[in-house]
């Protein structure tokens, strides 16, 4: 059993999706607990993250690891009963009138694979839906994605509404897509990111998660 678990960590680290799938199935058949298997996958993900920090892995490698993680989740459903569900800490969506979702989906996959719970609001999301989600969940981070310049007004409307509803101080607003420092200032956001891997680091920083700390055996699912 220990050997299977060690091999699983290595298979994730080397981004061997089919081997990961086969080892997870083998582990479940041999009675290894789902939580232990997820912990092993997280260990592998942590090693992938270290390769990225050392610059011998690229964003595509992180994406590949996140795809493997998502595949594992189809084999090991995350439930309250097995104790692996986590309260969402990040709310993300593409703002109204914009349907671009590549960057949004990638960062959601990366965050979840690093053990951070995420609510995905989808695309073309009206401002009130973002604000209601902040109020209802108490998430610490609101991620607003947009690749159109028309997104800037919508993002600004969202931060204005957060202010009006006295919710702004409860949440850090991170914008992503076709954005820069000027857009961040205009929108009234706290951070801007144009790179998914950096976006994950920003979220970890906000959540006070040490980049080099051990992953927890919990994942967020929505």
């Amino acid at each position: 059993m220990a050997n299977t678990r060690r091999m699983l960590v290595t298979a994730v680290e080397t981004l061997d999706e089919e081997k990961v799938v086969s080892l997870v199935k083998m582990g479940l058949n041999n009675g290894i607990s789902p939580l232990d298997l997820i912990e092993d996958v997280h260990q592998g993900m942590k090693r992938v993250g270290m390769h990225y920090e050392r610059e011998d892995y690229y964003i595509a490698d992180l994406i590949m690891a996140s795809l493997i993680f998502q595949r594992v989740l189809t084999l090991i459903p995350i439930t309250k009963e097995n104790g692996s569900e986590q309260k969402p800490q990040v709310i993300i969506g593409t703002v109204k009138h914009d349907i671009h979702d590549i960057g949004k989906n990638i960062i959601i996959g990366l965050l979840r694979s690093r053990g951070i719970g995420v609510i995905d609001l989808g695309v073309d999301v009206p401002p009130d839906v973002f604000v209601d989600a902040v109020q209802e969940t108490g998430a610490k981070i609101l991620g607003l994605s947009g690749l159109l310049t028309s997104s800037y007004e919508v993002m600004r409307e969202i931060t204005d509404t957060l202010n009006k509803r006295n919710l702004r101080s409860r949440v850090q607003v991170v914008i992503g897509g076709l954005v820069n420092e000027d857009v961040k200032e205009y929108v009234g956001a706290d951070y801007w990111v144009d790179d998914c891997a950096y976006g994950v680091e920003v979220c970890r920083h906000i959540l006070n998660i040490d980049v080099n700390s051990s992953s927890k055996t919990v994942v967020g699912v929505v």
Partner: protein, 371 residues
Amino acid sequence: MTPEQRLQTAILLGKPDRVPCAPLIESYAGRRAGLSNYEFMYNYEQAELAFVQLQQEFPWWDVMRSVYFVFHGPIQKTIGFMKPMMPGVDLPPDSEYQMLEYEAITRDDYGLILEAGFHSFLNEFYKRVHKVNDEEIAKARRLQLDILNSQINRARQRGQTFLYGGFTVLAAPLLCMMRSLEQFIRDMYQVPSLLDRVLEVVTEALIADGIASARKTGIPRLFIGTARLTCQLISVPLFERFVWSSMKQTVFKLLDAGITPIFHLDSDWTKNLEYFREFPPGKVVIELDSTTDIFQAHRILGGHTCIIGDVGAPLFTLGKPEQVQEYCRKLLHELGKEGGFILGSGCHVPLEAKHENIDAFFRSVEEWGWL
């Protein structure tokens, strides 16, 4: 100098009398003329009137740099490489058009490409994605060529030159758009040899199409779309294997045919700029979209590769006119003074650009563009 002489001089790294002015203006022209974006995207005649009006306002706009012939509504809805969401049809009339990212082809389709060839596969792709028939595909192809020829002729009639003699996309980014980014990444890791073979077939077909298009229009320059797969995202070995090899092949075959490749470099190419030094000097053009550091690009490729760029969408939308002018002045002084530079927008001028910023952009050419 005529606009065409000016353009050719810049491409050949020479010093024209004035820096050529080539913003990629499409939908913004329609908005400025009072059209909805639906009207602009679906009514070519009205789109042309919008271009005329804008050029009359700004006679320094001497290089018509347009891919309207590719993104015209009925064309995109029939022979687009991705499924589009169009203003007035799928989106509100004044929206920008957008593309749906999904797995439009599967890994099994690679077998189809290898068996039937890319052109045959492409017809099946159009039928599958756009729900069209052979007749509609043929009609859209004719319309595309008609609009391109008309765009060229009308640009010349109003005293401009036209930049592109045709349009293509590099094989890897094209398959990436069809497969979706995530699935294409999976393919690079899991079926690299199969992907090599497919890319070879697709590259050959796209080169042939590009050469044919440039010959039909008589403009020996080709727009080549490249997106997503830079070293910002993928490793150097993956870039060299799946992108650079077909890029090199495309460039050298186009050059053999007397055609200048114009690479539209979306996203951050800073880490990949050195590769362009492998091409002969003065033979290739790159367009930067303001994500790549254009000043770094000039340090690496100045005197070797003509650069077009790169006033970005955020600056056009949120900036003040004096900021736009200052940025253009910097581009014209630092990149333009030695030649080999064409002032342009970074990718499209956004629909929401402030009118006063467009005025400032063109004014900068008049003030600081003369050499």
